[in-house]
């Protein structure tokens, strides 16, 4: 369970808060999605969780333990984070990259144990990346790389997972595969918090949606509650309708042509 309670973040040199009194809960066994327009504070949530931006006020807890700088590796054993962008600086085999997920469990000098090996094998099996274990990261396609990153996060062995735009640059097939995998992880009891632009897929897979706008929570609830044309239209500043997906019945957003400016 990941919980943001009344979190505010103010970047240095900025007058507007990137997050302003935001409270979000991502309980175990659910897929919780944070959506919102560009610049709404979605990525700041993730950076605040890993301690890369200081909180002006409020608190973040994972499994009821407060997030603090003093217990970074304990936190990394509870929650894994897949950031929006990641470019390893040097060539690395997929096998070695996934093994880095065990970093928070290792001491300074100790070698890997059978627990580490088992966690890595489990993560590899769940993400189905065995075929590319011996390739280098540079040789992976976009979809393969995202799954490998997920495997690294699962190898951390926590019960919570946070992902920032995990399907950017992926085609429909790979995107669906990632969403289905996240759905399975939530069904297995993990707390999955997903930041995404893909409103329609989120509405189909997520149990709960949180809509951020200018650093504030503008709406939250089940997908049907949040996917309201009037609400989304004003936030995204674009005319749209919300229909029902004919195949699965989930609410689906359809953007219209821009209105002629008055």
């Amino acid at each position: 369970m990941i919980q943001f309670s009344h979190v505010s973040v103010l970047y240095r040199g900025s007058r507007l808060r990137a997050l302003d009194d935001v409270s979000i809960a991502a309980p175990a066994g659910t897929l919780t999605a944070v959506v919102g327009p560009n610049g709404s504070g979605k990525s700041t949530l993730v950076r605040a969780l890993v301690g890369q931006v200081p909180l002006e006020q409020g608190a973040i807890t994972v499994d009821d333990q407060p997030v603090s700088d003093a217990r970074r590796s304990a936190l990394a054993r509870q929650v894994a984070v897949v950031t929006q962008r990641e470019e390893p600086a040097f060539p690395l085999a997929v096998r070695d990259y996934v093994a880095l997920g065990r970093y928070p469990h290792l001491g300074l000098w100790r070698g890997t144990t059978s627990t580490d090996t088992a966690a890595i094998a489990d993560a590899v099996a769940r993400t189905e990346i065995e075929p590319y274990l011996d390739r280098t990261i540079a040789e992976l396609s976009g979809g393969e790389w995202q799954r490998v990153r997920l495997a690294r996060a699962l190898a951390q062995g926590g019960r919570s997972l946070v992902l920032d735009e995990p399907t950017t640059f992926l085609d429909i097939g790979h995107e669906m595969a990632v969403f289905e995998l996240l759905g399975r992880l939530a069904a297995d009891g993990m707390a999955v918090l997903l930041v995404s632009h893909q409103l329609n897929l989120v509405a189909r897979f997520a149990h709960r949606m949180v809509l951020l706008h200018r650093g504030r929570v503008a709406g939250e609830g089940e997908p049907a509650d949040v996917m309201q044309a009037s609400l989304l239209e004003s936030l995204y500043d674009w005319p749209l309708v919300v229909a029902r997906d004919p195949a699965v019945g989930a609410p689906a957003l359809i953007p219209l042509r821009s209105r002629p400016r008055a």
Binding site: V50, Q52, A74, T83, A89, F90, L100, Y103, L106
Partner: protein, 323 residues
């Protein structure tokens, strides 16, 4: 890296070290060297082997180990394949500190301490300049900041030397070009202290550097305290720069070249890259010093000039990849 490659690296270091003791103005056969090591042979042979060449080879090896491992750690932690103590201005800062200590007639043990303080100041200055230029994440901006700080350090040394006596200036210039020609056992012991501590700290940080090389946000998510680990790497690199600069002056490009060679040999984890770079750096500097004193006898080339001649084409090739 595989075991045979580690053994080859060790063998190469052993080989150039033996060659380093054998070759010079007075060539010695392997048998002569062994006899001198055992305390037999002529007085001249004993003096050449035990008081001149052995400490010189040992000091060159320590300098190379320090620069190689510092370069490997800096490249990993800054995610910048062009990072190394010399190009980041760290060595230059250490040189300013060391020259200041010499000018103030400080005792020998104080010279690397002053160098350490100078190196720390240079790192801080490089990071501030890079941030002001808006590109702490851009390898080229950080590099430019480092080169500028290094040039500033050189200028500071020149100013400090302006009123010095001729023989002091000559000695200082020789030292700014890098040299281990004045090697002595007390110097070797002093440098060994710095290099052993510095390399040990970097090896302890190696796993965190592996994660840091993935990017700061990802590293933070994996439990690395990014600011603290980065600072520790800088401090250890400054310690190594101080120890090597106090012993041998400015020797450039070793920290740049060696980690790439070690990675090309198959090292992926930073424990292997840092350890391998210590060995390969030692090998390369012992070999470079051998070239420096045997290429144009009886004259000696500055060690830093030899490493620069080897390193600059390599640097240009890496720069082309970045552009």
């Amino acid at each position: 890296m595989t075991l045979p490659r580690w053994l080859a690296l060790l063998a190469a270091l052993l080989l150039v070290s033996v060659a380093g003791v054998m070759l010079g103005t007075m060539h010695l056969a392997p048998g002569d060297v062994l006899r001198a090591l055992a305390g037999q042979g002529s007085e001249v042979e004993l003096a050449v082997v035990r008081s001149l060449r052995l400490p010189r080879v040992a000091l060159a090896a320590l300098v190379g180990a320090g620069l190689g491992s510092a370069g490997a750690a800096l490249q990993g932690a800054t995610r910048n394949g062009l990072a190394e103590p010399y190009l980041l201005g760290v060595s230059g800062g250490a040189a300013v500190g060391a020259v200041a200590a010499v000018a103030l007639h400080a005792p020998p043990f104080a010279i690397p301490i002053a160098g350490f303080l100078g190196a720390l100041a240079a790192i801080a200055l490089t990071l501030v300049v890079a941030r002001a230029a808006g590109g702490r994440g851009d390898a080229r901006v950080v590099l430019m900041a480092g080169v500028v700080v290094g040039a500033f350090a050189n200028a500071a040394i020149m100013v400090a030397l302006a009123n010095a006596q001729d023989n002091v200036v000559r000695g200082a210039l020789w030292w700014m070009m890098g040299s281990v020609s004045d090697a002595s056992w007390p110097q070797v012991r002093l440098a060994a202290g710095y290099v052993v501590i510095g390399v040990f700290v970097l090896l302890a940080l190696a796993r965190a550097i592996d994660v840091l090389a993935l990017g700061e946000d990802t590293a933070a998510g994996l439990g690395v305290r990014v600011a603290r680990v980065s600072l520790s790497v800088y401090v250890a690199a400054a310690l190594l720069a101080a120890g090597t600069v106090a012993a041998a002056g400015l020797v450039g490009f070793i920290g740049l070249l060696v980690p790439h060679l070690v990675r090309m040999a198959g090292a992926r984890a930073h424990r292997a890259i840092i350890g391998g770079s210590a060995l390969a750096g030692a090998t390369l500097v012992v070999a470079a010093d051998l070239i420096a004193r045997t290429a144009r006898p009886p004259a000696e080339l500055p060690l830093g000039a030899v490493t620069a001649i080897i390193g600059v084409p390599f640097f240009l090739a890496r720069l082309r990849r970045l552009a």
